[in-house]
């Protein structure tokens, strides 16, 4: 193209620092890339907000009057309080689809090939993406909490407990983006990753204690709902936000009795399991 410059003598890339430090810096480079993308495609972030806000309004006002929360007597605002942790938790899991679609798109466009041919850390492409999604999830949660507060939701047990609740939500969201990463690497097209990342979330989030108390379900569903990893975080948040009515009969299942610990265990297990599978898949990924 130009005739001015003489090509420099060839050199190999500098030796990487290797190991953990390099994987951190590589992941941050990739996270930065994904955050820049999110800022340049704000539609995605905005649409990501509309659905949970719609759910808050629909569930609060359409279902709110008809769903009885055990132990709440006739208090009409009890369901709204009860509901919010469920919506919060459902919202963070929807980040799965975004992570999956993003990674599938990178595969599709040949970017994953480029990254795999670079002397960069093997997990960094996926870690960078999931970290960027974590930032987006946090942003969504802030907006959602404001909307929830507008319809009357409150955290009653102090700032620290409230923050702990949001911490568990973010951890759950982060865990689910690793499931999304694996889906994205497996399905190969962004469209399939979006739908494939969402469909299974509906049964997962509805067969849970997120929107209705498990007591009214048939007994086999009740067991599933109470052991559902998703339920543990919902119950933990209700606990930490003080959103259970005073006489609410907490089910006897272990995760329901120890929700914070159960939520932590589930999230960590999901991260370890799906991160391992996703990174292995990445190493051998072929379009």
């Amino acid at each position: 193209m130009t005739t001015t410059t003489q090509p420099a003598p060839t050199t190999a890339a500098p030796r990487g620092r290797g190991g953990f430090l390099q994987s951190v810096t590589d992941s941050l480079v990739m996270a930065k890339r994904n955050l820049i993308r999110m800022m340049r495609i704000p539609e995605v972030v905005i649409f990501g907000l509309i659905q949970p806000i719609m759910f808050v309004v629909l569930f609060s006002y359409v279902f709110g009057g008809s769903i009885k929360v055990p132990g709440a007597g006739t208090d009409p605002s009890a369901y709204r309080e009860f509901l919010m942790a469920g919506i919060f938790a459902q919202t963070v899991t929807f980040a799965t689809a975004g992570a999956g679609a993003g990674i599938a798109e990178d595969m599709h466009k040949g970017l994953i090939d480029r990254f795999r041919s670079l002397p960069m850390s093997r997990g960094a492409v996926l870690t960078g993406r999931t970290l960027a999604d974590l930032v987006q999830t946090a942003l969504t949660l802030v907006v959602l909490a404001v909307v929830a507060a507008l319809v009357g939701w409150r955290a009653h047990d102090g700032v620290l407990n409230a923050l702990a609740g949001f911490g568990l939500l973010l951890l759950l969201g982060y865990a689910f983006t690793w499931i999304g990463a694996l889906i994205g690497l497996t399905v190969r097209t962004p469209e399939a990753a979006t739908s494939g990342g969402l469909i299974w979330l509906f049964p997962l989030t509805f067969i849970s204690v997120a929107f209705v108390p498990s007591q009214n379900m048939p007994s086999f569903l009740q067991h599933i709902a109470e052991w559902n990893p998703f339920s543990a975080t919902v119950v933990a948040c209700r606990d930490l936000f003080g959103n259970f009515p005073p006489n609410y009969p907490i089910p006897d299942a272990w995760p329901m009795q120890h929700p914070v610990l159960a939520s932590l265990i589930w999230s960590v297990v999901i991260i370890l399991f799906f991160r391992t599978l996703a990174v292995r898949k990445y190493r051998s990924a072929t379009v």
């Binding site: 193209m1 060839t10 190999a12 890339a13 480079v29 930065k32 890339r33 090939d113």
Partner: protein, 336 residues
Amino acid sequence: MPGAIYAEGLVKTFGDVRALDGVDLDVPEGTVLGLLGPNGAGKTTAVRVLTTLLRPDSGTAVVAGIDVLKNPTAVRRSIGLSGQFAAVDEYLTGRENLQMVGQLYQMSGRDAKKRACELLDRFNLADAADRTAKTYSGGMRRRLDLAAALVVSPPVMFMDEPTTGLDPRNRQGLWEVIEELVAGGTTLLLTTQYLEEADRLAHDIAVVDHGKVIARGTSDQLKAQTGGERIEVVVHEREHIAPARGILERHQLGGTSQGGCTVEEHTRKLTVPVSGGAKLLAEVIRELDTAGIEIDDIGLRRPTLDDVFITLTGHAAEDEPELKADAKPGTEEAAK
């Protein structure tokens, strides 16, 4: 001593398709090897194996003196890859794309920035440096992709069909960049479907089909095998086929013996292998004119990939039933 790119007995199967069926390659340092073949021949699979993206079932590969299978990370530090797609992030600017790649090559932030500037200048992208790659034309994206592959001036470069889908002007521009690169001492393996491209850029050419190298040599050697140039004439009247044939066969490659000229009766087209170029063409036209033979069309044809293929394999490059073989693991089909 093996060359900068060396492969022996590479085999890779996908299901029951042998995408690579015992490929041997040896590219001396500072030279260009053109890997020529149709879609699905195994070109992309070979590049993917050599660039650490795919593990072969068997065989050895050494790039820049490093064993690809034993030490892929070290290989990645010494290679640049420009794949079939322009693999750039279209929501990042040209500058951001190059800086990101620099940092992933483990350059410091400052070095990556400086290098990005140099490359943007060199590839005529300075004016568009701070626009997102989404707004770039196909040629600009290709240039950005190539720049990204050159962030560390790697001693060994791989380019998988670098000019597929480019218009002639951009193709020409990219060829110049590649020539400049090679002048700087880079060893290059280039895949292409175009004989013209291999002709212009490659010192040696390996023709690949069904996962095997079926011929190798310089472009002149391959053309000689293919029969070199030929003259094609379409005569106006069917009765003129015979006299035209007589004239053409007097000028055919290798003397006046009968049979070098092929005739398609229904299109009145005659084809004869020659070696005299434009000068001979002019002479043939004069003789046909003198003989009172009216011609609809006449031309000097150079061998195409199809000709090489028909000669070497007995089948045309395009109507391959198993083309999809490479499309699954590689991306040759999807790129179209």
